[in-house]
Amino acid sequence: METASISLSLDTVWVLLAAALVFFMQAGFALVEAGFTRTKNTTNILIKNLMDFCIGTIFFWLIGYGIMFGAGNGLFGTFEWFSKVSHGGALPNEAFLIFQTVFAATAATIVSGAMAERTKFKAYILYSVVISAVIYPVSGHWAWGGGWLSSLTTPFHDFAGSTVVHSVGGWIALTGAAILGPRLGKYTNGKPNPILGHSLSLGTLGVFILWIGWFGFNPGSALGASNPGLISHIFVTTNMAGAAGGIATLLTTWFRYGKPGLSMSLNGVLAGLVGVTAGCDTVTAGGALVIGVLAGVLVVFSVEFFEKILKIDDPVGAISVHGICGAFGTLMVGFMAKDGGLLYGGGAGLLISQLIGVASIGIWSLASGFILFNILKYTVGVRVSEKEEENGLDYYEHGETAYNM
């Protein structure tokens, strides 16, 4: 008994501190997105990052949590106000709630970067409400809330959310950026022009903050410390993939563009971290290295693909980092999971479940994102006027400029 209560305390401490680290990722996203965009829109991107967390906190608590973790059925939890559903485990319900809250807010904040520098503030606020209250919780229920993906014969495995969190954010970002259209001046007769971010110092600090946040994101998803070997392993795989992603992207840019680039390498670190998130518990350190390297290469070509082929303007690379690398990492589990992975003789079963998960959640988020932003487009409107965009959203939407040197 005594010992049981101590280990419960320890598990709680672990989850709460992990939640604090994941919360800190909000600052990381804010800095990366601000650093990769222009000063005339800095106030706007900062306030969006601040508000999507505030809104996420409240609406996920209001109804999202119930939809995600309520018993309900395979598709949908329960519509229960104020998170009044138990998550089952021994962990205090509020420890679980806060941990899930910061996860929901992570999915939400991914989108602002891809839609930066041209999205109406009001539309963004409404989007934030819907994703934290409904979109994220529904697919979250499928995989983590006892929904159908978790009851496949070989259950879909997304340990910390490559798909459940990052891809969801990434795919919705894709629909948003596509529906908005590129920023003014981004393309001149089809050729993309670089629109330089205003501070790589902010961007780099942001990535370091995201990285430390991931040490809460992945190991925290163990929801306890009773298995010290596991959480230690997750620390190693998480860090390994981030490092490998950074180096892989650095070398890719070096070969491909002639010089080692920082702005892409920052994406590369994130690509590796996102990629390993699904399998951080079940791949080896070497496996994490492989996933990181592949994600680091993939992100470069993905960014090029969206920018040059699809001509979808994503100022920070959120679609590639979170959408593409999230899906990629989830699939890699099918190959590289020590138990059940194809390369470890586990057959195709897991891989197929992963495919099903990636596809179904992908379709869900693309569809709901598409519908949501179209509704917003034809109601409050999603894009600011040309004049506002030219002069900067800070002035027109907020009346406040970020820098007064």
Partner: protein, 115 residues
Amino acid sequence: MKKIEAIIRKSRFEDVKNALHSAGIDFFTYWDVTGIGNESSGAIYRATIYETRFIQRRMISFVVRDHLADGAIDAILKASRTGELGDGKIFISDMLDSIRIRTGERGPESLYIKD
């Protein structure tokens, strides 16, 4: 009195400053500008390799008494030339008058310290 404006490479600034000093010009005002001209340079941002004709430069501006102008110009020319595209320009124009705020002196004597 002549006004001399020189648009130079930032990297040549130190040398130009010293050269002007040797030419007896130890007062001037400068600020950073962006220049567009014949020079262009390659750069990379994220996945895009691009050529930019926007080059960071420094504008040096000062007013001198006529007899010092040529020396000043030569000094700038020598110190700022690399021979490569983009060394910049020097523009000379006329000034009607100059005033030293501190003393109210007008005309040429506002441009040097009488001792």
